[in-house]
Symmetry: none
Subunit: 253 residues, 2 copies
DNA sequence: AAACAATGTTCCACGATACGGAACAAAATA
DNA sequence: TATTTTGTTCCGTATCGTGGAACATTGTTT
């Protein structure tokens, strides 16, 4: 049940390195990872040979290698989705000028698989590939609302409800109620439930069979994403975009 | 000097999995990798825990996980090359208003590491991190032209020449001739050799030692990228930009 | 339905292999 | 020049990864 030690360590090194796009030296890596230099050195040797890491020819620091890009090129299970959705999300972004995220579910979490940035100076911090719980995000609620009973049970079985803000949902009963609401209105809010000062509205993306396969969201600071704006403008535009992308995927609704 | 066994094996599994975007089961992996099922199972366990791999909830097949996306996000972000080249490429794009790509070689393929989009409505489809063969692209020819004999041999040893269009180069002899030409003129064309209706011109980027470390290209539909325009305008402007970026990297030429 | 095949998972004893301290080399800093 | 920091190599040890075997589960064939 425990991890393969050397592998876990090496992957941790990759994770760390991804935070240092300009490279990082062995000693720092040793500190960060809490490992001896010789261990790091050995693991880096293999990572270098396998092209998962490169050594900057000038600074001699270690950086992630292009093999990682090579891998990511074929996470195409959702690549079709991403390229289908992008033009619509870009149009929406241009229209409302707020950050937009595209998400899918993975292991009962929300994963951000694409992102369109607004030109606003105050931007969301987020990162493609990063994760969030489902119970406190609009995109998560949407994905939950598309699940059948079994899937829902599994996805919510081991939730550790943490009150991230005053408004965070913190019980299963409450969550179930909320999801019922989401099913009715066909959009979901994260009304300052995940991060202080951030409000967010999300809508579903359905495939040919009508199943919800992804969700997208508009998020931003509460003073820009007001409840008025949501009702006057955003709900309508989200529905529009939701319908357009879903149609692109063959959804007949 | 030898690799950490378990790590090398696990990375090989990732490489294999990247060829199966819809997932692959343990037994197939065992075949492909020449390892026992139990070993694969154990390694996959750690890869799953670290989110480098996911298991498709329906088919139970294993696919690359989103952690790989997370990693790849920042590879391109601050590559010194990219940030050095970007302002020049942006200026060039603004000037000629066509899509521009920045590429490096990796594993005998061209990898697109940056892209500047024109405001034209008819755009190239491409994606950062995607790959193309070297023999049928302008950027590839440039990178080949910068290789010494050994490197060239290795990069061209296992080319599978596919006639993507009527004009695609489809033999090693022809390719060698073409590369000799490229060396002389210091730019390369993809004259509708990769994709129907698309023409492209590429130029090298050299580092402090004069070595070609990257290439960039202007591509677009043949009716905009005409041979006249190439000779009257583009060759000159590409040379200019090539020189400027290379100087930025310390190249003295 | 029964027999069979293929696949995924768990267990375990063995020994190969990954481990980290130490010692060394090289470079940066004082 | 002395001193600290960083990268690399070496090696004895015990830990950790290994693959076979046995079991469980599912799908296929007769």
């Amino acid at each position: 049940m425990s991890n393969v030690q050397s592998l876990e360590r090496a992957l941790t090194l990759l994770n760390i390195m991804s935070d240092y796009p300009d490279g990082i030296q062995i000693s720092r890596l040793a500190e960060k990872a809490g490992l001896s230099k010789s261990t790091i050195h050995r693991l880096l040797g293999t990572l270098l040979n396998m092209k998962y890491v490169t050594q900057d020819p000038k600074t001699e620091k270690y950086r992630l290698g292009y093999q990682v890009l090579y891998l990511s090129r074929n996470i195409t299970a959702n690549n079709g989705l991403i390229s289908a959705a992008r033009p619509f999300l870009e149009a929406l972004c241009e229209d409302i000028n707020e950050t937009i995220h595209l998400c899918v579910e993975d292991n009962a979490e929300v994963v951000y698989i694409d992102k369109i940035e607004s030109s606003q100076t105050i931007r969301m911090y987020s990162r493609i590939g990063s994760r969030n719980p489902m119970y406190c995000t609009g995109v998560g609620k949407i994905l939950l609302s598309g699940m059948d009973e079994d899937e829902f049970k599994q996805a919510t079985a081991s939730i550790d409800f943490v009150k991230r803000t005053a408004k965070t949902i913190d019980s299963l009963e409450e969550l179930k109620k909320e999801i019922d609401l989401v099913k009715q209105q066909n959009y979901a809010l994260d009304n300052i439930e995940n991060e202080e000062g951030i409000r967010c509205i999300a809508a579903p993306i359905r495939d040919f069979s009508g199943r919800i396969v992804a969700s997208f969201s508009v998020s931003g600071p509460v003073h820009r994403i007001t409840m008025e704006r949501i009702h006057d403008e955003l709900i309508r535009k989200m529905r529009e975009t939701s319908k357009n992308i879903s149609r692109q995927l063959g959804c007949q609704i």
